[in-house]
Symmetry: D3
Subunit: 309 residues, 6 copies
């Protein structure tokens, strides 16, 4: 179970309100690379994990990410402080309040108007957080790689946020949060490589006929090769004929249907057949106010008004 | 630009219709670890990439993933063939059609009823595909790690699907697709480690005070350590007092407000203060049909009906 | 900041694996009325709250909801235990594994296939959790009412889950979780009514002309009245003429446009006008293979082929 | 399968970076009317299509839309070029970088901060692309109409984008893309009307009693009629009594319940009945700090505190 | 403004409860082709419409679709009647209630467990309704085409539902609803073709160089042509060289950067360059427990441990 | 069924176009606390409701909310009027049109570009409306509380919007809409408390051991108590040992597995075990271009290149 200490893991000192900056900080609060995503990712993995060491590791880091969520959330709340009071108490002249809400830039208006100057679980565009951001699949040799990548992404977004502000207290707290992502990545790397073997991930090996082939499918000027597709490890296939139907078959899709199903398929095809020999009048032509210019015009017209001749 | 060859990259031979199995296959068509996600991931990275080698690599693999989307899509369509005809032509007795749609199990009913037995871009629960699945952030030392993880996940879901079917043609095609994820992972690994240094990802180093600290936040029986938090590389911190306010500050959040904002904040607080000394009558007590049993009852009642005394 | 104790707030004893039941339990893990929603709701309110008493209350309950998320998550994981091993190790005969995944009923297939038998943050239909479930707006006289309602809903869903299982250990843990929602509701009721006045919520009073009016807009047999629209407190308005344009105006919408904008509006209207006097040939008629039967036929035909006369 | 040519279908020449304009262009990259939606729409239809002509048509156009996605994506990437470098390398003074990100206007901040100045699959408000945009249902007489409409919408959004920029290279490329939507619409119109009959869509005819009725349900000044509800084809029904329960029945909903279910329904109704004769004290009144003014006050008070008399 | 009549537009008579069938009916209640989508589509168009005739038409049909939403909602509620009571009152033996909820098939469990046997605004897979389903863009020559297509789709889904049930009362009500979609489609067709010209939609004509070109991009056996790409109206382009860079340019994307931006771009490229000449050791190889077999092994090893020689 | 009167419930008079303000108004049109959410909430509850009084009440208010949706929608449309014409007719100089769209502030660009200056069902950040906003669960003692809270929230958002504008006509109409939320809240309060008892909601009582306990889980300076956790009604538990495993058990989760499942679990654990005694070389270290500094270096190197010694 969890307990909460009223002190933060890192002290938050903000120079002054800035709802526009608050909105950008939401990226690490309710954004895809943010702390809620991190906490949920590791917490759910911890629940399902049976390996004692990894389970402990995942709970440790999940708990720290919750503590980071609280730090970044406090940064957001402090930056929104002035805006919150102005909107709730409505004492400014109206036009001025409108201008201050709209003029703060980016999407801070939604935080103020809908969320009352709090810390909503959205990204900086106002998009609600969704667990679709979490890519856990319940296999450690995949999940640990996902965690490594997630920490790398979070580190980068913090780096960008640090570049965006000149408030020293905010910068310092963001620096702490960014650094912790580096430490977490190192832990997950160790945990991954403590499983041997871990590649290919999972239990089954690949088909050796295709595991070292590289298909060169993007062609034209600008081709460049490197260790990712050249050297002894790779079979480089550029010939289009060797890239298609690589099993040696027809390259077609087929299914065995019983006679009832086959008959229905025929019936469906007949009902919905597009006649390739017709040149029908269409909505586009009516819409242009013109008859088609092709040779079928006359025939069309006859079909449309046979009784008129 | 793209071109299309009517032959598949791998021949699809399906033993017979099975809409329940088709529905499970959707996981790799319109699911989070599926081929559309893969193709979009690499295609968008390729567009923004400036490094000639990686750009080519990303276009090559994006194009192959589109070709895989076509293969898995054909498996889905073949498995749905019979169901499609039955529903569209409506020739079965009604009760029987209802039973066949409902009895196919899992969520195949939605594919049949709403999508007409086609190959919709949903996962196996009918959840529409969303680009929220794609975690590209435009920094190669993070994106390549995301790609490595994505390939690992896709490999695992294919492995599970292979375990689920005994149709040899489906198994074989899935085996090809699974193997290709292994090959792609190898390429992305090479591309990542061809960037030096690539750790920490991005441009900025972490704060050395926090980059090698491990906070032991999940406490109690069952603690286990490993290379992820022990050894010379790590400073292991278990004392709760050393885990809080690690900057040495108060662990509180603060912001400088100008006098106008400060006054508004006071006004807002006053208006919405919860009086800790009151013991108010509440909806819960009315809802129970009871007055609270505490000593404030009388006072409450007085407040409610002062004119009655 | 947060800390984690490896022991649960309530011991979880599960009789045996049941992935179908696990899937239903997801409703309180990653569903709209579940524990993640509760924890996030109170945690975000706590961050933005300035009243010391409420802030403490919200952190206390947020922390408990996180602990409940862990309890219900463990129930899910225990119920999925057998299924997880079978899928990951793939030792069953294939057809059997397919049947066990599909035959578990409801949507448990997605948990197994995509999430590997873990505890995903989805509801029981596989829909990813979204912060759109959280209705916090940053005003305590509204948010506390939202919390009261949220606790009521969570209580009901637990009550339903309790009715669904005969596993005594699961029943007991669910009973604890359900009871805590009752206790939380009571706390939030006290906190709400400790703010005086709290109705109408917010700062501004309503317009007295409309604050006690009840518009009877659903008419016909079956009308029934009660304290919600009868008695001295209510002005009951049934006459349709008194329900429309209640401000006494035209009931129309208008805006002042400057001459440039007005001209553009005229131009736009002219370009896109639908001629009420035309009886055009349409795609529907072509689609039926018929000309319209109305008196405009001849004229239409003339328009379509003027050169043919 | 697919192949990729490194040259674009249309050359992209951009005058200079403009992240605000880049953001608007996203509408046709990851927006609902954009090229990914188009490509996915036709590609999934092609997979499930059995008619040889339509299948070929759908693959041709799907492939072209992928090539358009690449063109519009390159426009986005070129317009974001400068912003990308500034953010990643962080060499600007911090305040300046913040101002350039926020001041670019609209939602370009999310593209820069979260997506690193790339081409994310979102619309211009930062909303992730979802396959909920795709309305394919697997019946060609409906799907082809959906395609016709989709091309019309895409054409309009391109027209708006063309109006928004004065960069001649961007204008020219957008003009090409817009024109191709016109060509595609013409093709889909031909394909639709090559199916005869295609109206009503599907297999079943409507009930002749209701197929030509027009219900005039919006009443009052401003009624205007046209060929859509007048003429020989239409039966115009304005009398409210002829608009309700048009089957001649009671206009009520009913179901046959067996005795067990009926009894439970009674029990449920009894437990949750709202007593129309009560005038209960409510949270609103407590919240106002007042007792209700109605005649039931005394009785209420008695109920609340019987022991006090 | 709206008024409500307690009688339905069509009487609903249901033979008996069937939560599985109720769940399928949700497709037309809260699904993408359902009545809420229809009502919202026409209502929002009506609000923004300035043409008196179309505005009236759109309000008439929007109002009717709301009335249909009520009809289909009543069908859902009646079919869920028994299930609702059983769950709420919890009188069945527990195992039996679980079986009845799970055994009803498809996704009816979510309606019962989460929504209490009511009529939730989800589709038949439990996916919440979203306005992403609505494709209105505010240009009548596009929106009317979207409406025509939407009516066609709704008609088909009703046709499928009719095929699925043998309850005569349900069949009859569905038949009414299906027929009305046909009538609505006819009205929208008339309104579209009352605008002249309406093709191409919008204000701007296409570029004549590309408006009649058909690019044959899907190649290989199985090509078939029809009026959609052959005849005098079309210029059929099959040569790949004529399909790429059709403007006659390089087919490349370019942007003018000022010197500062250009320098940053170079700096970014240098920092993140993948060295094509390296053959680095990667996570995959460590994961396999093997060193790469290529000629660079020795060098790699040297690089890794230079001090050891 | 529904009928529509062309006059609004409240006359809308707008001083002049203002697309930025229009965008903020969307919050009450297609936002989570807006009128569509309200109408859908009460309408779906009305459908499933069996109590005659509540059913009538719910239909009355649902119908009024639809009428409010029309009022707020007209405000949006009037405020967008000028922008709509400018974009559709494209007569402004291009740069100017871009500036007017981008410079209107907040997210109005999406309304103009994608939705053509209409009234889209999104919130003010452009997020599509979703029925995930609706929290109806089909139990009146919960749903009525949800309705009370929903009205409170809607009242607040209207209050904020009123503060934001100085257009007297807009202010007046918003004042009407805000006031009606107050009236609705009063009605729902009466309906809730007309059910006795209504607390705890639903049928089952809580476990008396836990129904009056308050767990003090957030610890440290700043603790404050009130009627929500002190007094005779509450048992206040602060000792961490009394907060964990409150059932008196182990606080662990367990499940009974049969021998087959148990064996598979062992096998899975063995395959994926993280070896706590290894200190493996990882991607992070390769990425840094360094070997780990720990004592296992030599061993690692030996493992990697055994043949080299």
């Amino acid at each position: 179970m969890f307990a909460h200490n009223k002190r933060l893991q890192y002290t938050v000192r903000v120079d002054g309100p800035n709802p526009g900056l608050a909105n950008l900080m939401l990226e690490q609060f309710g954004g895809p690379q943010g702390e809620l995503a991190a906490a949920c990712r590791y917490f759910t993995q911890a629940l399902a994990e049976d390996d004692a060491g990894r389970k402990d590791l995942l709970f440790d880091i999940a708990t720290e990410e919750l503590s980071h969520l609280e730090v970044i959330g406090n940064i957001v709340v402090m930056l929104n402080k002035g805006a919150k009071g102005r909107l709730a108490e409505g004492v400014e002249e109206e036009g001025e309040l409108y201008r201050s809400i709209t003029g703060a830039g980016n999407d801070s208006h939604i935080t103020q108007l809908l969320y009352g100057g709090g810390a909503p679980l959205t990204n900086s565009a106002g998009v609600p957080w969704t667990s679709a951001y979490i890519d856990t699949i319940g296999e450690p040799t995949a999940d640990l790689r996902s965690n490594i990548a997630a920490e790398a992404r979070a580190k980068i977004v913090y780096e960008r946020l640090i570049n965006l502000t000149d408030d020293p207290g905010v910068k310092e707290a963001l620096g702490f949060l960014m650094t912790r992502e580096i430490a977490h990545q190192k832990s997950f790397e160790k945990a991954l490589f403590s499983i041997t073997p871990n590649f290919p991930p999972g239990k089954t090996n690949g088909d050796p006929r295709f595991a070292s082939v590289y298909y060169n499918l993007s062609r034209g000027a600008g081709e460049e090769r490197g260790s990712w597709n050249q050297g002894d490890q790779w079979q480089f296939v550029s010939d289009p004929d060797e890239q298609v139907a690589v099993d040696g078959g027809s390259g077609e899709a087929s299914v065995e249907l019983d006679s009832d199903d086959a008959e229905l398929a025929v019936q469906l095809a007949a009902r919905t057949a597009s006649d390739p020999n017709a040149n029908p009048l269409t909505g586009a032509e009516i819409g242009m106010g013109e008859l088609p210019s092709g040779p079928d015009d006359l025939q069309l017209e006859e079909e449309l008004s046979p009784t008129k001749r």
